[in-house]
């Protein structure tokens, strides 16, 4: 082998370009015993970026529970997988595309969808559903509307073309996202256990096949770019944002799904962050072997590309496969049938080194271990202070009568109908969407079985800003509650942790507290975290984002016919409040409405009670006792009832005098109606189920209060609200409309 030519010590500017600190550089030199050359420096810069190496969050993430009887694949692969019965595994993951979306919303979001789809079909699983969790600044600001509409169009543009339904997600608007929007995409797929494919290279002499798009100069340094604070110069980094080709992705997906489980297909790995560098290194690292890539064999979109550019390009819609020599021709034949180009670009060998060749010359040679996990852990000096907690001042009285407050809440951008968004997404392709977006969790049946999956993404950053640990625990609770409201048993979590610059002590503390909050809730419900993603440096000179924990939850329904929705569907059914009579207004949308910000102490959560309430709902649905179940979330009790009315096209009559008497809270009516206390559902059921439900509630120690009945054309809360359904609908449906 030829020696790799060493270079002189890089300048500060060269280090900044690859986002390495001087200390990290020195650590690298110590590890490899020489100065790296420019390509090696670029490779290590990408692989040691926060985006690829998790150097800040790794020690904290180890606190998450990741095991359980259903876990087939925990964190560390392209996606996690849990057993769902019938010989199948559900494969799912959530990932951020915040930085690119802030610069170029359409392509940033589109390629985020493309990337998460590849993570799923790379494992041999057919994607069944997409979800997106979005955060923007206030919608009445033109730039925020531009970002919001661009992101929604990009998600639709990509997902609709590929033919995977977008069935759910959420969107919130808050000033903390003005400079840094959050775009998290989640994908859920299903695979037979025998076809589950891993990204683990093996077998000296096996070949490395690069498939899909030709490699261009797009997206170079994308991973590094995603790991620094956005500033005024970020606009000029537009070339670091890639452009998606969903049609190519569709063909790639079909071909890869044909190949999954075939003999001779040893491993599959998509090209994402850090392009060919990241994929090759990951394949070798997981397999404990070496990999050699010859950039001269890589098909290019442009002439004159250097080895550096080829290795660090983030051109989309590309896959790397490890195949045996005997099966190479057959595998290439499958790709050719889909009109996909494939190049044999490298080889696997035993010694764990990452070698890059340019024809006859070796241009980089690094130990795999150093490249992938050599990054020194960044342990910012956490202050570990108690989070400042405002003593809750008494909530101000609403300036409006309760009925009008309800209408204003329904029209609030954080609560109102998302129909305008989800009707621009194909949410039905695949013929599996049983519960459409707009309720608690979407329900997608698993083709060829009686099973269905309930999927939801949740996270209330307002709570997290006020108390990171509690906010994160509540995100898990709410996701599990949404899934339980359909009758599904939660079986696994994927999480996306979006934070500001972790080098600031308070951000690092919030990250640590959030992970502890997630872990605590997961343990209480016995749900493992099987995959996830961390997005740090969502920061700007004017301030960073609030801690934004997004929980993607998957639940299983054994008999799809036994699912439940949030809609009041039959007149004369009874309505009940399940769970505590809460009146907590801290961090609520009500406070945001009446005083401009949701301050105070966020709602408390009793994880044991939460677990009991959710189990009760699932049991009652499985027993066929409930006609609807809807969790109380933003906007509280009154908004939850209004949403069930709107979904079912039916009014309701509800009395709250007894609740007020029992709660004896000074917040009184506003607290009962609009408080966001946790662990609560609004349920409806036929009269004949009342006795059984009562019995069940006392056996399961779950508070159960009959409050009214379904019917009519108005929502009446005695003594407080009396509004025709048509007015509720008008307020709710117009919430996200652009100003005329």
């Amino acid at each position: 082998m030829t020696e790799v030519t060493a270079i002189t010590r890089p300048s500060q500017q060269q280090l900044a370009e690859v986002a390495l600190t001087t200390a990290e550089y020195d650590h690298l030199v110590a590890l490899i015993g020489r100065q790296p050359n420019a390509l090696e420096l670029g490779i290590v810069g990408a692989l040691w970026s926060e985006h690829c190496s998790y150097k800040t969050s790794r020690p904290l993430l180890q606190r998450l529970p990741t095991t359980g009887p259903r876990v087939v694949q925990g964190p560390g692969e392209n996606a996690g997988a849990v057993d769902i019965g019938a010989g199948l595994a559900c494969v799912f993951k959530i990932e951020s595309h915040n930085h690119p979306s802030a610069i170029e919303p359409y392509q940033g979001a589109a390629t985020g969808v493309g990337g998460i789809l590849r993570d799923i079909f790379t494992m041999g699983a057919r994607p069944l559903a997409l979800l997106d969790s979005l955060r923007f600044g206030p919608l009445d600001e033109p730039r925020q509307r531009h970002l919001f509409e661009g992101v929604v169009a990009g998600i639709g543009g990509y997902g609709n073309c590929v033919g995977v339904p977008t069935v759910g997600g959420e969107v919130y608007f808050d000033a903390s996202y003005r400079q840094n929007c959050v775009v998290n995409a989640m994908c859920v797929g299903v695979v037979e256990h025998a076809k589950l494919t891993r990204a683990r290279a093996a077998g000296a002499g096996n070949l490395v096949l690069l498939v899909g798009a030709d490699t261009g100069r797009d997206g170079i340094h994308g991973a590094s770019f995603a790991s620094v604070v956005l500033d005024e110069a970020s606009e000029s980094r537009r070339p670091a944002v890639q452009v998606g080709n969903p049609f190519l992705e569709k063909c790639l997906m079909e071909a890869c799904l044909e190949l999954a489980g075939q003999p001779g297909v040893v491993a599959m790995q998509d090209l994402g962050a850090a392009g060919l560098t990241g994929s090759a290194a990951e394949l070798a690292h997981r397999g404990g072997c070496g990999i050699e890539i010859d950039v001269a064999r890589v098909s290019r979109r442009e002439t004159g590309m250097s080895a550096y550019e080829v290795m660090l390009s983030e051109s989309q819609e590309r896959m790397l496969l490890v195949v045996t020599r005997e099966r190479l021709a057959a595998v290439r034949e499958t790709f050719a049938r889909w009109d996909l180009h494939s190049d044999s670009v490298g080889v696997i060998f035993d010694e764990p080194r990452l070698i890059v060749r340019d024809g006859g010359d070796i241009v980089a040679d690094l130990p795999v271990e150093t490249a992938v996990s050599g990054a020194p852990v960044r342990q910012p000096v956490g202050a570990l202070r108690e989070q400042p907690q405002d003593a809750s001042p008494p909530p101000p009285p609403s300036p409006w009568p309760a009925g009008e407050t309800l209408l204003r809440l329904l029209a609030a951008p954080n609560i109102g109908s998302r129909r305008g968004i989800f009707r621009s997404y194909d949410h039905q392709v695949g013929g599996a969407t049983v519960v459409l977006p707009g309720g608690d969790a979407a329900v997608v049946r698993v083709p060829g079985t009686s099973l269905a999956l309930a999927v939801s993404t949740d996270g209330n950053a307002r709570y997290s800003a006020l108390d990171a640990r509690r906010g994160a625990a509540i995100a898990v609770c709410e996701a599990a509650r949404n899934v339980s409201a359909t009758g599904a048993v939660p079986v696994g979590i994927t999480n996306c942790l979006n934070f500001a610059n972790p080098e600031r002590a308070e951000v690092y503390d919030a990250l640590r507290a959030s992970i502890e909050g997630i872990a605590e809730a997961c343990r209480a419900f016995d749900i493992p975290v099987v995959s996830g993603n961390v997005s740090l440096y969502n920061d700007a000179p004017s301030g960073g984002i609030d801690p934004t924990v997004v929980i993607g939850m998957v639940g299983v329904i054994d008999d799809v016919e036994r699912h439940c929705t949030a809609a009041f569907s039959v007149d004369d059914d009874l309505v009940a409040l399940l769970g505590p009579i809460g009146t907590e207004l801290g961090g609520s949308e009500y406070l945001r409405l009446v005083q401009g910000a949701g301050d105070g102490e966020p709602p408390h959560v009793d994880l044991q009670l939460e677990a009991r309430v959710q189990a009760f709902v699932r049991e009652a649905i499985a027993a066929g006792l409930l006609r609807s179940a809807h969790d109380c979330a933003e906007g509280g009790f009154a908004v939850a009832i209004a949403e069930s009315c709107l979904l079912g096209g039916r009014g309701a009559w509800v009395g709250i005098e007894e609740l007020e008497r029992e709660s004896a809270d000074p917040a009184g009516e506003a607290g009962i109606l609009f408080g966001e206390s946790q662990s609560r559902f609004i349920v409806s059921f036929p009269r004949e189920a009342l006795v059984q439900l009562h019995d069940l509630s006392s056996r399961r120690q779950v508070p159960f209060a009959g409050i009214g009945s379904v019917g009519g054309e108005r929502l009446v809360v005695t003594g407080a609200i009396d509004v025709p359904l048509s007015e509720l609908r008008e307020a709710y449906e117009g919430a996200l409309d652009a100003p005329a």
Binding site: G163, L248, K250, S424, D426, Q428, V429, G431, V434
Partner: protein, 237 residues
């Protein structure tokens, strides 16, 4: 009977159509875009999707696929051809149907329930319905606004070739609720021989009550009845 289901690169309703065909008790046969025959199918479905990415114009590339020569010939001999969504766009591009599908009036992709009034039962696709029936069948497209010149539209109306029309749920005029702003609210069009139907909505998605509607199955059942009884609609009118 056999339903041939075309698969172009970028087609995504192929498996949904196959499931609906199976539910109707028939055999689906996939037809690859590079194939040059329709494999003895009794009816060929051109399903929804983004054939070849729809990058030039929806359906504009697919019409040149080798399979389309076979489909054109099959249709010329009276074979039943059913274009759904992207398939309708392909049929217009291939001039097997008049008119064109342009960008939705909203300029947005729309995936939502639609209501279709059966305008004629003189076709193998609608013979099992009653004229005036309202079917709930969802749409999902960005370019589904049916356009043609007045002369063509008049001719289609006069010859009973408007098969399906968008209406409100109660059967009244759809007005501003049209999913795409199609001229004269046209949702589905027949060729002169009534053996070729193009429609934007997705009957295969309305194949089970569990999915919200099974009205789409009435169209599949019409086709199987027509094939079984060798019904000919070309010379009825």
């Amino acid at each position: 009977m056999r339903f041939g289901i075309a698969v172009f690169p970028g087609t995504w309703s192929d498996r949904d159509c196959a499931r609906a065909v199976t539910l109707a008790g028939h055999e689906p046969v996939m037809l690859w875009h590079k194939d040059r025959d329709v494999k003895d199918a009794d009816c060929v479905i051109l399903p929804g999707g983004f054939s070849y990415g729809d990058y030039l114009r929806c359906g504009a590339v697919a019409r040149f696929a080798p399979l389309m020569d076979a489909v054109t010939e099959f249709a010329a001999h009276g074979g039943l051809v059913w274009g759904i969504c992207n398939g309708f766009q392909i049929l217009c591009e291939a001039h097997l149907l008049p008119g064109a599908l342009s960008r939705n009036q909203s300029l947005q992709f729309r995936c939502e329930p639609a209501y279709l009034r059966v305008e004629t039962t003189v076709s193998p696709f609608t013979s099992g319905c009653t004229q005036g029936d309202v079917l709930q069948i969802p749409v999902s497209h960005g370019e589904g606004r049916y356009v043609a010149d007045d002369e063509t539209l008049d001719m289609l109306e006069r010859d009973g070739r408007v098969a399906l029309r968008y209406v409100a749920a109660d059967g009244s005029a759809v007005g501003a609720r049209s999913p795409n702003g199609s001229m004269r609210d046209i949702a589905g069009v027949l060729n002169q021989g009534h053996n070729v139907l193009g429609m934007m909505p997705h009957p295969e998605r309305a194949s089970e009550a569990l999915l919200g509607s099974d009205d789409g199955m009435r169209l599949f059942e019409s086709v199987s009845h027509a094939v079984r009884h060798g019904d000919s609609f070309a010379n009825i009118w």
